[in-house]
Symmetry: C2
Subunit: 333 residues, 2 copies
Amino acid sequence: MEKVNVAVLGATGAVGRTMIRVLQERHFPMRSLKLLASPHSVGKVIDLGSKSGVVEEFSVAALKDVDLVFGAVDNDLATEYAPLIRRSGALFVDNSSAFRLDPDVPLVIPEINARDIRWHHGIVANPNCATILAMMALSPILKLTPITRMIVSTYQAVSGAGMKGMDELERQIRDPSAAPEVFPFPIAFNVIPQIGEFDEAGISSEEWKMQNEGRRILHEASLQVCCTCVRVPVYRCHSESIYVETHDAVSLQTIRQAAEDCSGIILNEAPYPTPKECTDSDIVMIGRLRRDGACENGLHLWCCCDQLRKGAATNAVQIGEWAWQNGLLKKGV
Amino acid sequence: MEKVNVAVLGATGAVGRTMIRVLQERHFPMRSLKLLASPHSVGKVIDLGSKSGVVEEFSVAALKDVDLVFGAVDNDLATEYAPLIRRSGALFVDNSSAFRLDPDVPLVIPEINARDIRWHHGIVANPNCATILAMMALSPILKLTPITRMIVSTYQAVSGAGMKGMDELERQIRDPSAAPEVFPFPIAFNVIPQIGEFDEAGISSEEWKMQNEGRRILHEASLQVCCTCVRVPVYRCHSESIYVETHDAVSLQTIRQAAEDCSGIILNEAPYPTPKECTDSDIVMIGRLRRDGACENGLHLWCCCDQLRKGAATNAVQIGEWAWQNGLLKKGV
């Protein structure tokens, strides 16, 4: 198969930079790599390992010959640029939340529903990072029985707010009186039970994502998920405490066996994963698997993954790999 | 009523020092205050505000004339000293977990089950800090209907491991390569889903406490609680994400009204409490009250309190106050 002309849109942000690194590490079959961004980042120089690249302004002309665009920009820019990318014939793998609930756009975690990439119409959406972690952690269970209900409390890293989130934690650790700018309260030596804005029922936008996106990824329209999404002073790895109810009863031993056949995860029960050790890894680590005392089909588990890698960049690159391997890039390949 | 001769046992630790401060702040009716500890702390000088006190060795002779002993020592010392305190005729309000499940010892949160102090036989146990926080946060609901089931994920401060826990966080913030001594993994920029030791079912000693102690405090022998107890890099305030099922359906509005009549708590929904702002307060702060999507009688909430104060020292001092006010100190008063 021919190699691919790739562009990373939003190349200067935390996710964009990680996409570039992951593309190189996984030896993505690139003929060329174009670094694109909005006007205010144009001209910035990005380290590409052996060489460096200069950021170009996003434009229709810049998309000429590009087969695959990885998007790491916010919803507004993604919405603005998506029709142009689509028209150019390139596939847009978008990490924003702009298209995640669009019935015309597949929402994909390759280990779970890669086949949904087949029906793309120019855009494939990358799920929310907390959703990717939860669904990957449940993937051994999903091989055995459908899940009906989840209650999730998250421990989310500051990288979820991009480089400015990581900078704010670092600044407040050095100077605890430094005023919060990115987060609604100080994050150093604190935890904040808010990610995104609240609706009238008091549920945050981040908390809705796991149910809304989970239903699409699993093709389970009645899945019930209640989350409490909490920011913690960890740099880049998310953790989650998950309670899940399954349709059929499954033994812990069966789940442990199923986990051995699942790619992208490791069940670590000796003793359990922490976010620190999962940083800079593509693996979703699972631990603390145990039964619930009240509900026969209830299980508890703990999981961690690097928010910037499998929670964002790596998942997007995997979508691109699968599309390329299955001849689903429209142009040039 | 006559004033009381008080002793603090374990006066040099984080909880012991906070007990001394809380006794002074609340103007506990003390005739005298004796500072007791195990032999290795004898001679240490403790700041008592206007003056200072010298730590004496615990002994039967030292208990002469003491009416009330607040215990802030570990289980082994509490178990060793308790019979001696009992025999001396003083009331022992013990913060260790040694006697919490002893059917002969009341386990008390004064706002919830103060009347259990009436049947004490020389010892009243102070509950686990995470249990105090959860039960206080649920106190408005408990006024309306029994609770049947809880799923709790905690965000517990390092002060739960005493001063050495706080020192370890501070040391690792300064030097991220500093090896963990108190906690099983590095705690700076990390979260650790283990507090206490695990049993064969993979449940930690801390995670059992909320069910075992909750059943005794609420007199609900069938209460089902499943916890995931997690240490976070916060200095001294615990937070919890609680899912609770009630026996009868109650509206959020009814709970909000009930909260106004509960002492020791504040419902803060504008927007929610964080552990940082609850530090050094005796108030349990509650927020994020909302309905569950799957279970009609299911509710979610978030809560925070200072682990050293209401989670330990203040609750113990309140027990002492209630015992004194109700003539339940055996000696001298």
